[in-house]
Every structure is written in C-alpha cells, then in structure tokens.
Amino acid sequence: MGKPVHSILSKNFIADNDRTDWHDETLFMVRKKRDYASNQIPEWETLRQWASQIKAHTLSNLDHYLTVFEKNANANGIQVHWAANAMEHNEIIYGIIKQTGISSMVKSKSMLTEECHLNEYLQDKGIQVTDTDLGEWIIQLRKEHPSHIVLPAIHLKKQDVSDTFHQHIQTEKNNNDPKYLTTAARHHLRNIFIKSKLAITGVNFAIAETGGIVICTNEGNADMGVHGAAVHIACMGIEKIIPETLHLSIFLRLLARSATGQAITTYSSHFTSPRKGQQMHIVIVDNGRTRLLGNNNFRNSLKCIRCAACFNTCPVYRKTGGHSYHSIVAGPIGSILNPNTDIKANADLPFACTLCGSCSNVCPVKIDIHNQLWIWRQQISKEGYAGKTKSLSMKMMAYILSHPNVYRFSGNVFRMTLKYFPLIIKNKLNPWYRQREMPEAPKKSFRQWYIQKQKSEFKKQHIKKDS
C-alpha cells in the first residue's frame, strides 16, 4: 500500500454520497450554531482580538509563564514533569502508573495523549485505559482514531454506534435509539469509573498565576474520573498556558461558542491542588511545539484552543471527513501542525484546501490559518515534496507565463486543439474533464480581438480625416 493521501482517501469517503451529505449538513449546522451564538455578543470580534493578543503575549514569554506555572503548581502540591517528546510523555506516565501499582484507569478527552499514542503504548505494557468521553469511547471500541477534535466520532451514524455497542456491550441488535444507547454507555462506564483509581485528563487552560488547570467537558467525565481517583495525571502541551485567571473569562466565553454554539461548556472545572491523600501530576509536553514557536511563519498556530470551529466551517473537511487527513488532528489546523511533525508524510495536507479563508475568520484566536497553509505549500514544494510531475508542469508553466510570445503561442495551440482536436484534451486522463465539460474554445483570444478592434478604429478615424 502506498502512503495515504487526502485526495484518494476523500474520493473513497465521497463515494458514499448520502453519508457525505449527512456529514456535511451535520457539521454545517454546528457552524450555524456557532454563528448564532457569536452574533448574540456585540463584542465578539473584540473578544477574538483580545484572545489573540493574550496568546501572542504568552507565546512571546512562554519560558517565563511556564516556570511561574511550575513554581505555583509545586507550591499547591502538584508534581510537574517535563517531556520533550511523545516518547518521554508516555514514559513519564507509565513510570507514575508503575509506582502506584494501579491497573484500572480512566481517561477523559485529550488530543495530546492521542498525538502521543498513549493508549497503544500502555496497551503494549499490558495496561488498559478506558476513554470516558462518549465519542472517544465509541472509537476506542472500534479501534479507530478521532475524525474530529471535539466530536471524535462524528464520522459515525447512530446505526454504527448501535452495531458497535451490540458487539461490545451486548445492547439489543439494531436498537439505535440515542437515549437507549447513551443509557447503556452510561451504565457500562459507571462501573469502570467506580473501579478506577487513576484518572488521566487533558488540560484546556493552565493558569500561570495560580498554578492550576481548567478542564472543559460537556459530559462531566473528567470530574467523575478525577474525583474517584487516588492519582490524577493531567497532560498538556506547552501552549496551554495563560497568564492570569482574569484572562480565562475571555477564553471560556469564546471556546464553547466557537465549538458548539453553547454559551459555555457544561463543566468548566478548576483543579488547583490535589485532594488530601491524592497525588496530582501535570505532564508538560513539547513534541515539536518549540519548533513552531521558533518559526515566525507558523508560531501563531500555537494559539489554538482546539475548538474545532475551523473544522466545522471548512468545506473540504465537511465533505471529505476527518479520516481523509490520515492524522490525529484533521482539518485546517491539523494541516498546519502535521507537516511540522513529518513534512514528507503530510505534504498533501496543505493542498487539501481551496484557500477560501473561512477558517481564519471563525478562529476565536484569529490564527491566519489559510495563509499558513499557503506558506506550507511554498516550503513543501521548495524542499522537493511536491512530486516530480507537478514540479515539471509548474516549471513549464513558469516558462510559458514569463515569456509573452510563448504564452500567446501556447494559448493559440491550446484553443485550436480544444476546438479542432478536442479528443486530445477531452479524455478520461484529464481530471478536469472526467466530471466536467471543457469550456468552449473561442476562435480569438481577447488580445487578438483587441488588436483587431484598435486597427479598425484607427482606420475609421483615418477615413474620416481623409474625407
């Protein structure tokens, strides 16, 4: 099998037209809810501006805020660990688990642990982690990756969930009533929560001033896990820091409205110190982020608060599905982040985009997403990852467009071929023609028309003068 590419994976996705329409409509509805929610707040654009500036300031002083955070967290009784990459992140967590001797544990949603492939790593060591976010749990049962960072199972319809539950937790066959299915999930997960002694969570915001973290969920599953656990391990990327609690209000107002159109997530939980007798660990991870931080072109991408508004608005994402992006983080922001981890494997992603710019305008922290994708394209081609055929045709195009005579000659040849030998162009090898007609070839280019017209006007004037 060749390496996965977006254009081919998306072709397979689109082959199921009804499902594609459903996916597109569902996400567009979420986007609409976001529009409605943001329109209720007159100061919405100002909030975006502030959030963007706070993040810009924080990123410029990241070393400072991270050390302040560590100091304050330590003072609160939290143990802070630093991981340079995914491997270190997984090893640290494994180390903690081994030390405590706990074997039953739960995890709430964390894109970072997905990015580090923590589940697989622990599984290899014989440790089973149960994902407790409903969507995450469904895809965990199916051994799939999230197709969306907020709605990880959005590629599935209720019948898919019914089938999965029937197979794994013996629900009634073909009962796809959402209430029935969620109740079944709740009962099943409740038992796991009760047994679990260790909770792994993500982090939405880490506040330097207080040394505490904030976790936003709609299901309360992070809280449920942490409250019953003797050990809480929270994992965060270095970019999750904000300076003060004051700033949190801005981000909380933006996050849920951008994500789902809710005014606020059902649970915005603050964890500032461990309970008596509880251990609390925070693992702070780099894993390529400092590379972005050091790059003026892409630094802004670290402002991301993972709201997924850019996914929901992206026409390409909506119509091609998250798995077409063959990465943990799909969608527009993923297409910026993934080439940073592996440019060769992800060279196709910045091109899976029409540069329509919708993403940059919904982004609550004003990341210029589409411009960054444009810049990635330049870098990918310059470094030779664009493919030989494309490079060659671009060189030819550059030559033609730089030489007016050659351009006119080629233009004529193209038009005449299209007019008199259409089969050379109208064939199945031409990806324009497979599902679209070619434009009708005019006899003359505009330039030819223009010159002729000028000549005839010039003549007319002279005839007038002469007579």
């Binding site: 254009s7 998306s10 689109i14 597109d24 567009f28 529009d35 943001s38 707040i41 007159p42 654009e45 608005t313 026409p315 390409v316 119509k319 091609t320 091109f351 985009c353 029409t354 540069l355 329509c356 710019g357 919708s358 940059s360 305008n361 919904v362 444009w374 394209r377 330049q378 870098q379 990918i380 081609s381 310059k382 494309k390 490079s391 671009m394 060189k395 195009m397 550059a398 033609i400 467009l401 730089s402 007016p404 351009y407 233009g411 193209f414 038009r415 990806p431 324009w432 599902q435 679209r436 007609e437 434009p439 070839a441 005019p442 003359k444 280019s445 505009f446 330039r447 028309w449 223009y450």
Partner: protein, 247 residues
C-alpha cells in the same frame, strides 16, 4: 479616468467575451481604457501550488506591463487578490508596491472609485449570485457570514441596479464552490462534490443564470452544469452590467 485592464490568462484565452464586456462597460462609465499588450498572468497558479519561487520572471513581466498605469482593473477577485498579496520584485520593489495599491477588482472599482449614479443595464432573468471566496474574504467585497459585522456587498449593490433582474441568494450564502485553482484537478473528488452542492443550492431556486465576479469559479460550475445537461447557465457580472447598454 485612465484605466489599464488586467485580463487574467484564462479569461484572455477562454472567455474573451468577459474581457470585452469589462472593456465596454468601463468605457461607457467614462474611462479611457488601455490593454497592455505583453501581459500574461499574475502567477497565481504557480504560487497557490507552492511554486512562488518560480514566479519571479512572471512577476517582472507583470510589473513591466502595469507599473505606468494609474488604475489597474481586473474582472477577477481572485487574481486581484493574488497581485495585492503576493506580487514581489527584487529589482523594482517600489513599482510592485504601487501596483498593489492601485489594482482593483471590477465591481469594487465601480462602487468605490467611479460611483456612477446608475448603470442603465437591463437583464430580465432570475439570477443566482455566487460569492467567490477570495474576493469576499480577501478583498472584502462583501460582508461574510463568519464575522459579526454589518452586511454589505459591492457586487450586489451593482446588480440591484440592473433593470428586470431578480437576484437569488443560495441557502448557504458563502460556502466555497470548490474551484480552488489546481485544487480542482488535484482534489477532483472534493472539488466536484463541492461544485455539485453549490449547484443544487441554486437549482432548487430555479435560477436561469449563476453569476459572480470570478470567471474561474463560474467555469468550474459551468463544466459541471453542462456535463449534467442543466438548463442553468453561467455569466460574469461584467456581462450583466454591460447588457442592454449597447449603443
């Protein structure tokens, strides 16, 4: 008012009627219009494919053609935006800067610079309006559904002036049509799906025409419409604004 026409390469070769309409329209609105004869292309197909490092000579050619122009007007939002954002020159940086600040997309040139009282155009058809992304979000030719801002549209302001026309907006007012430059061939499946969905949105409104300010997007939709034997036709905004004003 002196205007130099920038006619993007694919309009020059495949849609000369759009260029003719642009020229005639500007003349009727009182402009002295010239067409610099050695122009080729703005280089957008190269740059959006990641090959802006090959576009130096193409850029220099553009600058040679247009650095003397007062106003530069182009019947394409996308190409105008490309020039504004990415025209660069090692040898003539100030000329490039001047061009970037003097180039206009056709409809914004009419609403913002010429400001005619009326257009005396007539087009008695039901017309769906396609909002092309680069002109909208890049040049801000109209407000966008993403942003909390007062609604406006420069091209619609002009079209609403046309006699007999009935303008219909699609249900998804500014979703992308899927052209996207070389995206339309490298991501064929997605591009076609996006195009078909836009068309369905228009067809449910029973329009006679789909219009807009970007021939490239219209060409993509036209290709799909014709393949599916639709009765709906595409037409550039310049052709509508120039209609019924002849003579």
């Amino acid at each position: 008012m002196e205007v130099a026409l920038f006619i993007p390469c694919y309009i020059d070769q495949l849609y000369p009627n759009v260029a003719v309409a642009t020229l005639e329209l500007l003349q009727k609105l009182g402009c002295t219009v010239s067409y610099p004869l050695q122009q080729t292309c703005c280089g957008q197909p190269l740059a959006n494919s990641g090959f802006s490092h090959l576009s130096n000579k193409c850029n220099e050619n553009f600058i040679n053609n247009f650095s003397d122009a007062g106003y530069i007007v182009c019947p394409s939002g996308s190409c105008t935006l490309h020039v504004k954002e990415h025209l660069e020159s090692q040898s003539h940086p100030s000329k490039a800067e001047k061009i970037k600040s003097h180039i206009y997309e056709l409809s914004e040139f009419i609403t913002d610079v010429l400001k005619p009282k009326n257009l005396s155009a007539s087009f008695p058809y039901k017309v769906g309006f396609l909002t092309s992304c680069h002109g909208q979000r890049g040049l801000h030719l109209s407000s966008m559904s993403e942003i909390n801002e007062p609604s406006f549209s420069k091209p619609l302001q002009l079209l609403n002036n046309v006699k007999g026309i009935e303008i219909v907006m699609p249900r998804r007012i500014d979703d992308c049509c899927g052209f996207g430059g070389t995206f339309c061939v490298y991501e064929e499946a997605a591009s076609i799906k996006m195009g078909k969905d836009r068309i369905r949105d228009f067809e449910t409104n029973n329009v006679d025409y789909i219009t807009g300010y970007d021939v490239s997007c219209l060409m993509h939709l036209e290709g799909i419409l014709k393949r599916n034997k639709s009765r709906v036709k595409t037409i550039h905004i310049a052709e509508i604004l120039n209609s019924g004003t002849n003579g």
